[in-house]
Symmetry: C2
Amino acid sequence: MEFSSKLLENAVNEISQLPGIGKRTALRLALHLLRQPKEHTHNLSHALLNMVNDLKFCTSCHNISDNDLCDICTNPLRKDDVICVVEDVRDVMAIENTASHKGLYHVLGGKISPMDGIGPHDLNITSLVQKVQTGQVKELIFALSPTMEGDTTNFYIYKQIKDFEVQTSTIAKGISVGDELEYADEITLGRSILNRIPFESSLKL
Amino acid sequence: MEFSSKLLENAVNEISQLPGIGKRTALRLALHLLRQPKEHTHNLSHALLNMVNDLKFCTSCHNISDNDLCDICTNPLRKDDVICVVEDVRDVMAIENTASHKGLYHVLGGKISPMDGIGPHDLNITSLVQKVQTGQVKELIFALSPTMEGDTTNFYIYKQIKDFEVQTSTIAKGISVGDELEYADEITLGRSILNRIPFESSLKL
């Protein structure tokens, strides 16, 4: 791509560093910004700068927060002895949307993934084990994505805490609500049969 | 979407103003930036600010440029009596890539599109007509997309300049090179038959 302007080229190069955005899309976005009033780009740039400069991570659960402790950790109505272990802030938002978890969270910041060079020490696992060691945690809910990396991470954490007195559970894997059975993959379908639950208890949900 | 941080929410809102980027993608991009070294976001923000603050438009052809006149307009090797009329800078880049046009350009900045509220006076048409009026332009090549808006714009400009001594041409419409005939739409196929060219002249290309 030959650019008629170095400034445009720089902007396109920087935008195309973002995941899933190629050079063509970056050019389209840059030209869109040029057509808008300058304030749009000023607002965008300052919002990004403020975010990376001033954003904090909750010192307890490692969720993204504007303060040292996040709103969930400081909420006295939440059960502080049930901790849901998740990968990142998107999972916290997704679970919060369901209103099904009344306890706290622990954000690992990723999953163990040797292929991507992410080991246990790149994640917030030590602080989770320390929380369990204090004896104040009754239940740990593993809510990582049911992938190879998620399962590996679950098992790694489980090995670290299995000698302490804490109950561990993992989210149910099965057929998505509303899905046709014939299109479900066989591992999911098989698990949903093996992990079947009493019909009466399904009526209560 | 409930955010645990006002700073993150602001950034996501600003990113999702970009065309084709929804809230979920914006969140993914914001979290990506948070995982990168801060310099990435600094570079991105400054590239965007520099672009909108310092970018110029060539005073002759209205192409994006770092100087008052763009590199194409100041190039003595280009024929200054053949002007290719295009919609925006992306079209200039696309045509330059083909190396098939040795003249100059005139960037309209859009197409006449009443549905989007874009009239002739929102485009760089007056300066094009003035160029033609000087009598120094031998040929005007209309290279707008062959859509309703493109054809309307071509015709509007044509009406303004038809009394001056200037040759006008438009890019050939036909079957794309490498395309299967059976999948071509009927208007394109019909035009390609009506606008057929001598076989000998096609051999020279």
